[in-house]
Every structure is written in structure tokens, then in C-alpha cells.
């Protein structure tokens, strides 16, 4: 370009250089922030991809806890929860619920009876866009202490190196507790007989501004009947879905929601550690499941049970998992919605 006036030509080259440098710095900073220069960064995309079973992910479906059924019902609040949280769904009354029973596997072909851990996604709604979502599991603690350990576990368990798991276990002693639970805890033949635990801790804030760190559990009112795993492994691959659909026809199914308040010094940031017995608990209400619907076109399909979708009065704590889960669940949701055509709402044929 021709300089508009004499005399600037001398410095024009320098000026162009300045412009080039400014733009280059901006672009490099952007690319750096996006992580393109740090291939070792654990991104949610990598975490979600690492969940995929050997045959690849189930397109159009959740990237973990892929098998399950939707349910609807109500949350009947006792009112006791208002003492510790101003969440509107703790005010005595009934609140609509959309949830999902599921088995903790990313493999769509794993038979229900072979999956050790079962889960529940739960959404409780109150007026004014006040929505509380959580995704809980039947195990009493998580296998690992940190999200990066979870990523390491996924890599180790899919690794071809013969000693990958051995090395993982040596580096993550907490994993042994989970192994012991998995071997000794009873198996049941129904979603209705399982407890579902938040494991992660959250902060409750009361109307007066007092805060407590809590975890919660849904305890079944149906008695648990222990069934040997060999018997369950021989059941229909979808027997849990069939069983719960059948059972709910006979009448609503109930769980009591119990909130446990941490004492000073309890491991609030580590879901692999249970809190000691004897902590203060509050019975905040009852989950009543009234109806069960198929996963592919039920009302839970469109819900991402992101545990950081919280109403006023509940917030995240120093537990690092909810943030990691939120970022991974978002990627899972983005992927499965983009692939919706691979998971049609009407089954192509009987499954």
C-alpha cells in the first residue's frame, strides 16, 4: 500500500512488523488456550473417547451408563430439608421427577446381569427454572479419588500392556477398596432393590445463609434379596428393564432420600472415601416412581444428568468430580445428539 504521506515510508516496515507481531501473539495465545499446543492436557473429549468399549461407542447414545430405562414420578418433600438448604424442592410438597435407571457400562452389548454397578439419573423440578439433576450409583464409594485417576483407570483397563492394570492398582491404592466391595456386596435382581448414592459432596445453603457440606443417598423401601451373580448372568440381557417395568405395574416404587452432613475433617473432596458412621442425617423426602418408559423415546432421553445442574441452595464443593463430570457429560450429550439418527426413537425391529 502507498503511504499517504511522505516520511512515513521509513517506519512503515517496522509498523507492519508490529501489526504482524500483535496478530501473531493473539493467534498463538488463542491456540494455546484452546489446548492445541498441549497434547498432554486431559480434555473432556479425550475422557469421553476413553470410555468407549473395544467395539467403539454406541452412536447416538450415552457414552457411559448406556443401557437403561426412563421413569417418571414425584419427589415428596418432608420439609425437613429446608433446615439445611433453601432449595425450593425441599419445601414440603410434591415435585415432578424424570429419571433413568441404568447399568454402569459403556458397552451396549453387556448383559444387564453382568454389570456390577447400577445407577440412577434424577431430575427434580420446581417452579422458576429451579432444576436439580444428579446421577448416582449403587456402590457406596467411587473406585478412584480424582478425575485424573479415573482417566488413568480407563486407559489402563483398555491397555494391551499385560501389566497396565497392575501398575494402575499399585499407583492407586484406593482402588482395592472398590475391588473388595465388588467381590463381597450382594447382587440383587431389581433396580428397585438398590440404593443410589451421590458419592460426590455438595454445599447446601440454608435460608439464613448457613452452609453445610453434604452427600445424599436414595435408600430403597423394597427389601433387597440377594441373588448369586451366576444366576443373574444367565438372565435376559435386558432383564433389569423388563423387571422394573413389570414391578411398577403393581404399584409405585419408593426410595427415601437421606442427606448426610459432613463433620469437620471429613474427606469432602474424595468420593472414594466413605464418611464415618454417625454423621447427622436428614430425611428430606421420598422418591416415588410411578411409570417406566423405554430409553430410546422416553422423557429421559433428552436430559443430560449433569450433576452441576443445581437449584438455588445447592452448589458444588471442593470435590473435583462434578466439574470433570459436567464437562464430560456435555461432550457426551453433544456427540449423542449429533448422532441421533443412529438411535431412532422407534426401534427398527424388536431388539
Amino acid at each position: 500500500m502507498k503511504p499517504p504521506r511522505a516520511g512515513v515510508g521509513r517506519s512503515a516496515l517496522g509498523s507492519w512488523a508490529i501489526i504482524g507481531i500483535v496478530v501473531a501473539i493473539a493467534a498463538i495465545a488463542f491456540v494455546y488456550t484452546a489446548g492445541w499446543l498441549s497434547p498432554q492436557r486431559t480434555t473432556p473429549a479425550k475422557l469421553v473417547s476413553a470410555l468407549a468399549p473395544p467395539g467403539g461407542p454406541a452412536l447416538g447414545r450415552r457414552r457411559n451408563h448406556v443401557k437403561g430405562v426412563c421413569f417418571t414420578g414425584t419427589f415428596e418433600a418432608t420439609g425437613a430439608g429446608t433446615a439445611i438448604s433453601r432449595a425450593p424442592m425441599f419445601v414440603r410438597g410434591q415435585y415432578p421427577v424424570v429419571g433413568r435407571f441404568n447399568v454402569a457400562t459403556a458397552d451396549p452389548n453387556a448383559p444387564d446381569g453382568t454389570v456390577r454397578v447400577r445407577g440412577m439419573g434424577l431430575q427434580i423440578s420446581a417452579p422458576g427454572q429451579q432444576i436439580w439433576r444428579s446421577a448416582m450409583i449403587s456402590a457406596p464409594f467411587f473406585p478412584v479419588a480424582t478425575p485424573s485417576a479415573f482417566y488413568a483407570l480407563l486407559l489402563a483397563s483398555s491397555s494391551k500392556a499385560p501389566d497396565a492394570m497392575k501398575m494402575f492398582i499399585a499407583a492407586h491404592p484406593e482402588f482395592a477398596n472398590f475391588g473388595a466391595w465388588a467381590k463381597t456386596a450382594p447382587w440383587t435382581r431389581s433396580y428397585a432393590e438398590e440404593p443410589y448414592n451421590s458419592l460426590d459432596s455438595f454445599v447446601f445453603t440454608s435460608g439464613s445463609g448457613a452452609t453445610s457440606i453434604v452427600r445424599w443417598s436414595l435408600l430403597p423401601t423394597a427389601p433387597a434379596v440377594s441373588v448369586p451373580p451366576e444366576v443373574l448372568a444367565k438372565q435376559d440381557p435386558y432383564f433389569l428393564d423388563q423387571e422394573i417395568a413389570q414391578r411398577v405395574k403393581a404399584g409405585p416404587l419408593r426410595w427415601t432420600m437421606v442427606v448426610t452432613v459432613a463433620a469437620a475433617g471429613d474427606p469432602t473432596a474424595d468420593p472414594s472415601k466413605a464418611w464415618p458412621q454417625g454423621r447427622r442425617t436428614v430425611d428430606v423426602g421420598t422418591l416415588v416412581v410411578q411409570d417406566v418408559q423405554p430409553d430410546r423415546d422416553g422423557p429421559c432421553r433428552d436430559i443430560n444428568y449433569d450433576p452441576t445442574v443445581l437449584p438455588a441452595g445447592i452448589s458444588t464443593s471442593d470435590d473435583p468430580f462434578p466439574a470433570a463430570r459436567s464437562s464430560a457429560y456435555r461432550v457426551s450429550y453433544d456427540r449423542r445428539t449429533a448422532e441421533a439418527k443412529y438411535y431412532p426413537r422407534t426401534a427398527p425391529e424388536a431388539r
Binding site: M1, P3, P4, R5, V8, S11, A12, S15, W16, I18, I19, V22, V23, A26, A27, A29, F30, T33, A34, G35, R41, T42, T43, P44, A45, L47, G128, Q129, Q130, I131, P147, D302, I303, N304, D306, T308, V309, A312, T316, P320, P322, A323, A324, S326, S327, A328, Y333, D334, T337, A338, A340
Partner: protein, 186 residues
Amino acid sequence: MADPKKFSPLQRVLHWLMAICILTMFFVGVGMVSTVTPKYLRLIELHKTVGILLLILVVIRIAARWRYGAPALPANLPVPIKLAAGLSHYVLYGLMIVMPLLGWAMLSAANYPVVVFGGLRLPPIAPQGELLHTVLWDAHHYLAFVFFAVVLAHLSAALMHALIRRDGVFEAMSPLPGPSMRQPGG
């Protein structure tokens, strides 16, 4: 405002405030989607809040542009450059409106509550839907990179006016109240 060669003070304040916010949006946007650390939750909250703030600011800004207009470009600026300047400004205004709406609509289509400013819950602006979510997500994602590229081009052009042409175009939007600009060619 009395100076016809400058944008009104309101427009200049809005320009620089929004420039900072928009740059923040780019960096927070790509940073938050690539992390699994607890920073993620703070960043996405910031992203939504600043994004909605920008939506409010751009409405005021367009009203101000309509009310106060813009100083004429220097007469000696080549016609293709004038055209490029005019076009890029339309693109920038368009993206400033569209990007926040896409973000908000994308979250609505995904059935997420949109919580901003530390607790304000916005209503959904789009129906829930998988296909709609994907279309909005793609638009928000790709337009973000287009937006960044256009901002870099805009930045280069502004610096060219300031450092090379020295024709008063940069001073017209200068963040400093300062004295009236130098005469071009003077």
C-alpha cells in the same frame, strides 16, 4: 460528540468495553471446553454471564450507532478498502448479536437451565430438540472461529490506520477522550 470526526463518547466506551468482553469470550470459550478441572465450572459461568451482558450491550450500541451515526472515512481511502471496512463492520455487528443468541438457544435446545449473573435463571428461547441442538452447536462453534478471524482482521486494520496511514480513523474510536485528532496529512 461535538467533534464530527469522532464517534460519540458513549459509542467509544461501548466499543472498548465490548472489545474486552468479546476477547474474553473467545479465550474463555476455547479454554473451558478443553479442561476437566474445577476451573471449568467458573469459566462456563463467566462465559454465559459475559455473553448475555454482550447481548444487552450490543442492543444499546446499535441504538447509539443509529442515533449518532459514524464519522466519514477519509476521502483518500481506496474504494475497495472502504467497502471492506463497511462490510466487515456489518459482519461484526451481526456476530455480536448472533453469537450470544446462539449460545442461549443452544442451551435451551439441550434442555439446560441458563443461569447467569450468579443466579438469574433465563427462560428457554428455543424448543428442546436433538437436531436443533446440533445445528445451533455447529453454528456457535464455527462462527466463533470466524468471529475471531474477523476481529483479528479488524485489529490489523485499526493498527494500520493508527501506525501507517495515520489518517484519524483510529483516533475516531480512540479510547482516550484526548484532544481532537491530528489532521490527516498535516
